[in-house]
Amino acid sequence: MKKIILTLVLGVTLAYANINVDTTYSTLGAIVKKIGAEHVNVTVLGSSKYDPHFIVPKPSLLAKLRRADLLIINGGGLELGWLPPLLRGAHNRNIQNGAKGFLDISHSIAMINVPASVSRAFGDVHAQGNPHYITDPHQVPIIAEVIYKKLKLLDSANATSYEKNYQVFMQEWKNYLTEFDAKMQECKTKKVVQYHLLFNYFLNRYSIKSYGNIEPLPGVSPSSKHTIELIRMMQKKDIKVILQDVYHEKKSASFIADKTGARVATVPHDVGSVKGSDTLKSFYNTIAKQICH
């Protein structure tokens, strides 16, 4: 009798026990929601309003990590400056690096801009390559697949549900990309400069050429010398678009825009970082709109 009750109780709790998934950034969180749907509770640790390299390690994040069953990180060194002490302080063995509930998405991505040599004399360069792959919509199916496989592994009871969601999402995204790519054809001739190397994956995908950055080196604030050089170069090459993110200072970009007649495009780097980019599709649509149209 006791066994029956125990089994019943266990069965009931299992049936209702969602798995807690923490993601370091919002786009990863949005993809988890697509695959996990009602079986997962998603917590995004880093706000998309801030610089992903410098998320404030608030103690409240420790409480969120403490109860996570799965931690999904962007990887490529993007969380290096804020996540490791939180992970140590959360005392959760299930999500430690190497545990079953830890997933580094960058391990499944073909990283670009991998530096031949690494030194901080070149600024904040990531040895593993450019970590901002999330801006390319063609990475989404790759990310969705690894997330789907991980969810299936951790929560086999709901495997069929994950599989269904995954198939539906993949089809939906395939259709979306066909349409998206067709629209992007007209942008191939665009020439841009960026603040930081945030959009290289997107730009590479659609053969849009980026000619330089407002910051002289990754993580180094703009200098007047570098800004003047950039203005001259933009005038010579007739570059009319400046890609600005939401978290860097905006004075440099508007100064450069004044001198060159270029347009400052505020481009989201993660789901929700600008108004009207709260869903996966609206996020990529906003990137496209800001850069091309």
Binding site: P59, S60, A63, D124
Partner: protein
Amino acid sequence: MKKIIPLSMLCALSLMADATLDTIQKELETQKQKTATLESQMQALSRANTNQSASFSQNAYLPDIAFILDMSAVARDVNNTAYSNYAIPGFIAPGDAELIFNPNRGFNLNYAELALHSSVDPYFDAFLVLHLQSNVFEIEEAYVITTSLPMGLRVKAGKFRSDFGRLNKKHHHSWHFDSQALIHEALFGPDALKDPGVQLQWVAPTDTYLMLGAEAMQGTNEASFGASESNNLYTGYLKSSIDIGESISLLGGMSIIHGENFENNTLNPTDLYGIDFTFRDQLGAYSSLLWQNEFIQREKSLGIRVDKQAGFYSELIYTYNNNYATGLRYDAITQNDTDLSAYSGVDTDNLDRFTAMLEYKPFEMSRLRLSYTYDRSKIISGERKNINDVMLSLNISAGAHSAHDF
């Protein structure tokens, strides 16, 4: 005539079909050749990708290594000899002060620090911090933490800085000011409260962050304890934090320490009580306002009497962007019930200190800091002397990236 046209069309079609077939066959041949070339190229590549490393190389297992340098240029209206013998009445007797940071007018190389971190195995992470000064080699910290205990538990063992209060755990280079908070200096000295020992911490599985911790340590700290015949120092603390909206975080803590001193050749209890409170408002991606406070009281029994002493610091730091920050700190001793007869005729009331600083970080790994201190907490050469101190310090941390503090 009518028949001729379809016939010739048919001929033409079949000819065309023949031609198409030929092209396809040729195309097939070329593709086959291409595939063969690609296959051989792939094989060559995979051969090139085979393990070429030295048979016994272990470079991939090197720990994360960082080295930290701290130096300063100081102007002070007290000469070095007099300054090195300063006293803080009731806490530090003349000549007892240990001057680690910025002792001299002119140039100081305060320290070089070597910090190493590595996973040991699936169960332990290890940390080692070596503190180097001109004639000093010190193991600042050397400990392991567990990574696989269940139920939100973690054990730390080795020599480590106690997690008592807010500031004690932090290393000099992550402080907001170059000098140690006055009450910490008075109660623990510049070495802070660190000892060989074990620590157990538990994080509650709640929505709100709640952490309980306890430590057993050797108790070698001379300033408050120092009876180290056997381990006799015990700490306990509770920390919690809540967020208000997305940008504001509050962090609070309560701590106690029970230890023993060996004053007057007897074992006597020393008890400390601490509360701390931090407010942080993230104003923008790189801009924030931080208000950090800590109050500590000590009850030190000397066998013949019990001394009650207390003090606090309060600091306000405004970070403008990733390059500039500025801050103010006020330090004070608020209670000093002890034998002050050694200072008869000297004003020992209202011991306090003001510090202001301006910080410039060219990059996140380097920091220049200009600070001014008006110090009213010290007795110099038997007299109460208010000290003016202007300092420019440079701190760099190279190598492995240490994560940012809250």
